[in-house]
Symmetry: D2
Subunit: 116 residues, 4 copies
Amino acid sequence: MTLEELAERQREFIAARDWEPFHTPKNLVMALTGEVGELTELFQWLTPEQAARAGADPDLRPKVSDELADVLLYLVRLADTLDIDLIEAANAKIDRNEHRFPAAAGRAALRRVPKD
Amino acid sequence: MTLEELAERQREFIAARDWEPFHTPKNLVMALTGEVGELTELFQWLTPEQAARAGADPDLRPKVSDELADVLLYLVRLADTLDIDLIEAANAKIDRNEHRFPAAAGRAALRRVPKD
Amino acid sequence: MTLEELAERQREFIAARDWEPFHTPKNLVMALTGEVGELTELFQWLTPEQAARAGADPDLRPKVSDELADVLLYLVRLADTLDIDLIEAANAKIDRNEHRFPAAAGRAALRRVPKD
Amino acid sequence: MTLEELAERQREFIAARDWEPFHTPKNLVMALTGEVGELTELFQWLTPEQAARAGADPDLRPKVSDELADVLLYLVRLADTLDIDLIEAANAKIDRNEHRFPAAAGRAALRRVPKD
């Protein structure tokens, strides 16, 4: 399934429940924050070693999977309401990053440039 | 392009720069927070009406597109390091939501249930 | 009670439970994100009018108060572990903002400068 | 200076610039998210050891101090617009936590209870 098909499934789900009025850009950005907060809570007290094994932990894996899903769903919904193609935007960003961070520069570049 | 192909493109980009040591689950969750923060800053002072038109605003649209891309890229990367299939997780979540929020109940259900 | 006294009360609470090892800067920054996420969830689906009345709503007020408290507690704890005086830092920031945003310029300045 | 006095200083700063219309609860919650995002970006790629020394790092300390100030300022402003006393709320929360997490139980309690 593509992201476009996922967005279409969401559109039908939301229309069937009459939820469009709630899905304004500001509300969806806030919902995204809420879900990233829930995802963060799963990792905050873990040691780096425990966090590295989270995908293989039978208790944590379904919880993490569920929160990742929530983040994706609000992200896809927000992009859909703004008529922005996420895959196209992500590829354009990697294209730019390939110029900003030439491969040879390696880790040093990451240290110099504090954010994407 | 599918999310799996996007994840593969990222893997190559990161390997070429020797950035894997930075991409621990805790660091990536934090990077996701940073990008959602940048996305939020684009919307925080807009009126609901201005926010609703953000996708059509020639100044805002590329900025929003860029931040949405960053959120997607860290989300895909995080899921990839945890070996979790985002599309499968998202569909499983909608499946569950179809039971939690029957279509007939409409908006009332949203009000009763505080979070997804 | 001052923030310094609140930080001291927290220090005793945490020491009595042997929680210091968990309170690393990265973990506390993540905990702050989690709490801001919970606070955001209380407001995300409210209309601007409902949100404006949240402090007077008998159901919402204690929930909002509780989440604001959690954000403050992790913020104070994080500053304490880094030996940074929050009140001093906040006043220094307002001092700088008084120069960045001269009072006469009014709202126009907010529009030009996208973030604090 | 107390938090109440800081809130009063902010009130005057904001009134002098005619910014009250922007400071709705939803906008301030979003601004808080933006600032926590900026704070997180300072820590996201640091090792736990680097993060533990952030308060003593001559380059990082002023940046961290500045972002902590921004988080406090929006938190105090949000509480002020909702007429909630942050210090009282924080003490009420610690009172409850003293019952939820008896001191003798120690770290085990933290592991069992996923969030504050």
